[in-house]
């Protein structure tokens, strides 16, 4: 069941070695986002208030956990960063002051900069006509190369 939900599969796939923890990946996210993910105590308040959580395969608090453990593959294969609307509800409510929205932006940035996501918006003419400029520009900013 967990498997169906997405990449979460602690007991089957993810092997945590001490060396992996506090991986350079988590630090990279911290650098780009300014968020200290190691402060997270997994309360889940970020996910509980996230408007897009229903559509995410991995919840924001799980992204934080995976990042702590340096599980980049799991994060990279998740749809979460591409579903997040950068609404900041998570960041402003986190009891430990972790900027989760910023961290997720960092994940997007790492993917886009690595160019391994092949992210294209691929809007049709019709869509471009329909959408207001504010939607097109911000979507490009956030989720496309």
């Amino acid at each position: 069941m967990l498997k169906e939900k997405g990449g979460l599969s602690y007991n089957t796939k993810m092997e945590i070695e001490t060396m992996d923890i506090k991986s350079e990946f988590a630090e990279r996210i911290s650098e780009i986002s300014g968020a200290n993910l190691f402060k997270c105590y997994q309360c889940g308040k970020c996910s509980a208030g996230c408007p897009m959580a229903e559509s995410m395969d991995i919840l924001p608090n799980q992204i934080v956990r995976l990042a702590q453990l340096g599980q980049w593959d799991e994060i990279q294969n998740s749809n979460t960063p591409w579903i997040c609307a950068a609404c900041l509800a998570c960041s402003v409510r986190c009891p430990r002051g972790i900027q989760i929205a910023e961290a997720i932006e960092a994940v997007r940035q790492i993917c886009l900069r690595n160019r391994n996501s092949e992210r294209r918006l691929g809007l049709s003419d019709e869509q471009i006509k329909e959408l207001p400029p504010i939607a097109i520009i911000s979507a490009y900013r956030k989720i496309a190369e």
């Binding site: 996910s47 509980a48 919840l59 009891p95 430990r96």
Partner: protein
């Protein structure tokens, strides 16, 4: 000192078996010591601290007429009292004995360097000889103790402390701000983990307070001023104006019955009503009413006076003035308890505006047989029996970013209790708890949680993100972090386990008592481990939730502990004072006051007439800060004078 007799100093060097003698060259030390100025005798012994060693010390004092002694041995922290006592037995003032620490700070740490170590040891001895030459005989003073205690706060903590002190035979004055004692415990329904009824165990104690011959209960009163020091405090207490002459009032209750003004009652957390003339609850002690001036028609508009007309005892006195009384007490127990952090602070949970989202104390009132619903769980909005209740843990706690960083320690337990009691009270009702971690570290606590879990209370691990009203439901938007799934519950009611915080009036009291609080406003203990009951002011002790969140068993233990401290203090007839304090050379003092600011104990004050500074020996802790602050050398630390230390420096350089 001027005019002091010729110094005859004895030096006794200890071998400490091989501990000292194995490294240091004892004959060399004796030779060196004997050659020091003023030294009348230098000798040694295998074990100075042993009985024969002490006898030797006494003998030599008498034999040579020694007026000062240096024992070169271990650290003064170990045997200074031993040698001082022995010297006293031989008729020498104990403060004329000093130790030269040649074991811990010499022999033991330079074991492979005997030559240098011996050189160093000789310097240490010389230094102490020079110091002791200027020691003055000191005499322990003592102050009388007023054997009467003041207890501030009449919750279970203050009540327990008062009863313990009074039962031990001392007088206790219990000051409670509210019209009745009882504190928050009086509001509780049943108590974890045993589920005994709070009122049933509390009421008898309240009654004993009210009737105890040695307890003076001052309800509806507040401490307004404090002066003095341990054993001798002077306290000012305001008896607030209640509009009722309690000496005349018989507690019949007619006035409350007849009063036409109804307002939401604080005791029932606004869920029930009380009159403008009221006692907080029927079992109140004292069972005398007060008039709530903000709501009484007479105070507001000058009309009504129905209570007055109906009071046969003629106890109503609208003109009653507040009264200040002064009392002498020897010790103080601060037991001011807690408040709950306000739900208004939690915007995401409705900011206190959704009627069916209530705080945990309000829920206690709903569960309580004496509560506004007589113990039937009915929700505030429409009086319906809620079929599902969500309990949210850590509401405002463990949130360093926006609220309180600390764990409130008891809410895991009382939420569990409330869920269980609710389940027992409402057939088919479903409680849900949203928690982050369950903190059940207490005797039989985990077992209690286990019981709740096995009885079907649903625990969900995750913090709720939002609570909002939709129709007549309260929607709880949470997450199950164990499943990694967001979840929504359409609840009938939500209970917020609000963070515990100190009373909002604590800062005012802090200024009066001059004791400290931490950044959250909880009273600070003298030492977190070794003196958790004391404060930085001798004679003031702490009990209950004003110091940190805790449950009733811990509160009662702490209160009895604080009472024990007070009783211990009162068991002495006089309080001996450490004579190693400071004194002021009046001729040198310019009255500049620099030292007053340097003292952390308020031990110094300026005498405006003589324009000099005075030292209160009872308050002085002997730190020496004032001596350093004084530009004129007017303040002298007894037996640690500037001159003595400079002399020691001289020897070393």
């Amino acid at each position: 000192m001027k005019g002091s007799p010729i110094k005859k100093i004895g030096v006794l060097i200890c071998h400490c078996g091989k501990n000292i003698a194995g490294t240091l060259d004892i004959p060399e030390l004796i030779r060196g010591a004997a050659a020091l100025p003023d030294v009348a005798f230098a000798g040694d012994y295998k074990y100075m601290c042993s009985q024969p060693g002490q006898e030797l010390l006494k003998e030599k004092i008498k034999e040579f007429g020694l007026n000062s002694v240096v024992v070169a041995a271990c650290t003064p922290n170990l045997h200074e009292p031993t040698f001082r006592k022995a010297a006293a037995e031989a008729g020498l003032n104990p403060y004329c004995v000093e130790m030269a620490n040649i074991r811990e700070q010499c022999a033991w740490v330079h074991q492979n360097n005997g030559h240098s170590a011996t050189e160093k040891a000789l310097q240490i001895i010389a230094m102490m000889v020079k110091k002791v030459a200027q020691n003055s005989p000191l005499f322990e003073a003592s102050i009388p103790i007023v054997k009467r205690a003041l207890i501030i706060g009449g919750g279970i903590a203050g009540m327990q402390a008062a009863l313990d002190i009074a039962d031990a035979g001392y007088e206790a004055i219990l000051v409670e701000r509210e019209p009745s004692i009882g504190g928050h415990m009086a509001q509780l329904s049943e108590t974890f983990p045993t589920l005994d009824c709070a009122q049933c165990i509390l009421t008898p104690k309240m009654v004993s307070i009210g009737s105890h011959p040695r307890i003076r209960l001052l309800a509806y009163s507040e401490v307004r001023g404090l002066e003095g020091y341990v054993g001798n405090f002077k306290v000012k207490i305001e008896r607030k104006s209640s509009g009722v002459d309690w000496d005349k009032c018989t507690g019949c209750g007619i006035c409350m019955e007849k009063c036409p003004t109804k307002v939401p009652g604080e005791f029932d957390r606004g869920l029930g009503k009380r009159k403008a003339i009221y006692t907080p609850f029927p079992q109140a002690v004292p069972n005398k009413p007060v008039i709530d001036k903000a709501n009484c028609l007479y105070y507001k508009k000058g009309v009504c006076r129905i209570c007055e007309k109906n009071c046969e005892a003629r106890a109503i006195n609208f003109q009653q003035e507040p009264q200040i009384i002064e009392e002498d007490v020897g010790a103080i127990v601060v037991a001011t308890g807690y408040d709950l952090y306000s739900t208004e602070n939690l915007g995401e949970y409705g900011a206190g505006e959704i009627p069916d989202v209530i705080d945990s104390l309000a829920f206690e009132r709903l569960l309580s047989a004496s509560g506004p619903t007589s113990g039937e769980v009915r929700r505030p909005s429409d009086g319906k029996i809620p079929k599902s209740v969500v309990f949210i843990h850590c509401a405002g706690s463990r949130d360093p970013e926006k609220h309180k960083p600390y764990c409130s320690r008891i809410c895991c337990m009382y939420s569990t209790k409330q869920a269980l009691l609710y389940k027992h009270a409402v057939h088919g009702g479903q409680p849900y708890l949203f928690y982050i971690d369950i903190r059940s570290g207490g005797k039989n606590y985990e077992e209690f949680v286990e019981r709740a879990q096995s009885e079907g209370v649903i625990y969900t691990r995750g913090k709720v993100g939002r609570v909002y009203q939709e129709g007549d439901k309260v929607i709880v938007q949470g997450v199950d972090t164990l499943l990694g799934k967001p979840m929504k519950i359409e609840a009938d009611m939500v209970v917020l386990a609000m963070a515990m915080q100190p009373q909002l009036t604590t800062p005012e009291l802090r200024r009066i008592l001059k004791i400290t609080t931490d950044i959250h406003g909880f009273w600070t203990e003298a030492h977190p481990k070794m003196n958790p009951l004391g404060t930085t002011t001798r004679g003031i002790y702490l009990a209950g939730c004003g110091q940190a969140p805790r449950d009733i068993p811990d509160t009662v233990s702490q209160a009895s502990g604080a009472a024990g401290k007070v009783i211990g203090l009162f068991s002495q007839n006089e309080l001996p004072l450490d004579p190693m304090t400071v004194y002021v050379e009046e001729d040198l003092c310019a009255g500049c006051g620099l030292c007053v600011a340097a003292c952390s104990y308020e031990a110094r004050s300026l005498d405006p007439q003589k324009r000099i500074v005075l030292v209160n020996a009872a308050l002085c802790q002997g730190c020496g800060a004032c001596m350093i602050a004084c530009p004129n050398g007017a303040t002298i630390h007894k037996n640690f004078s500037r001159k003595q230390i400079l002399n020691m420096v001289d020897v070393l350089t």
